[in-house]
Symmetry: C2
Subunit: 135 residues, 2 copies
DNA sequence: GTTGACCCTCCAGTTACTAGAGGGTTTAAA
DNA sequence: TTTAAACCCTCTAGTAACTGGAGGGTCAAC
């Protein structure tokens, strides 16, 4: 199967698939004209990667997950540990974003949003740094 | 004030401050030896940027916010609009992360995490792509 | 005068792609 | 048979916001 068909099946851009080959995530064969040939295995791997990425795993995690998948003697605990670590990263990010959201929403609420220059948002941003947070 | 003192006050790494100058966010003066000199205004701007960044605004937003701050004839609606747009970006990201988190947590829960190879996490990642989601 | 803590610039690397230039191949119609 | 569209290829550079490191000048103290 050629790259554009493959891209449709995997739900990935053609460029991304070339990139995945470049960094060694996949190794499709080549035809005599130099065009890439994707077989079932390649397709499966791409789908696997796409799904992993959509869950937020980074490329390195994907590499590890692919290796674990093809390792028949893996322990599920290894997979679970990787996933848990990733979940922690997500939770951390969620907390940060929720904190940001709360602060920002409060400021937006406080701002009249009219033609006048007075603005609580800018006032907050311009506040001297809290000495508690320094040192 | 020299750059390392300034960095402490602003709560930013020295490298970051140099970077902010390089991209034109700040323009500290220079001493005869070529060392940067930061005055009150520079310090204030750095704190302003640091605070904006901590709320998730990107560098371009920071530039705009700084301009609005120093524009006495600004309309608070301009600031509010910028902040609202940013809030929407945050909400979008939060939704994505929450979706990821839910899926991932479910999979982690389903995985025994023992020495055996059987693993629902890998099984999920290896699932053929949902035809609903394709085309 | 030398040591250590500063400061400087410039270059390269990070993540995960994406855009575009420049050029070969295939397919199908004219 | 030509030719045009629609493919395919590689290679380079750019994105965001820094960060690390090399190589080298400056300053204050002992």
């Amino acid at each position: 199967m050629n790259i554009s068909e493959t891209a449709k099946h995997a739900g990935l851009p053609v460029k991304t698939i070339r990139y995945y080959e470049e960094i060694g995530l996949i190794q499709p064969g080549r035809g005599s004209n130099g065009y890439r040939n994707f077989n079932h295995e390649d397709l499966h791997q791409l789908a696997f990667i796409a799904r992993s990425r959509s869950l937020g795993f980074n490329i390195d995690d994907c590499r590890t997950l692919l290796a674990l998948f093809s390792d028949q003697s893996r322990a599920s605990s290894d997979v679970k540990t990787l996933a848990r670590t990733h979940l922690e990263r997500i939770d951390q990010k969620l907390q940060e974003l929720q904190q940001m959201r709360a602060t920002l929403a409060g400021l937006i609420d406080a701002c009249a949003g009219d033609h006048r220059p007075n603005c609580p948002i800018l006032q907050d941003l311009a506040k001297p740094i809290d000495p508690e947070k320094r040192d």
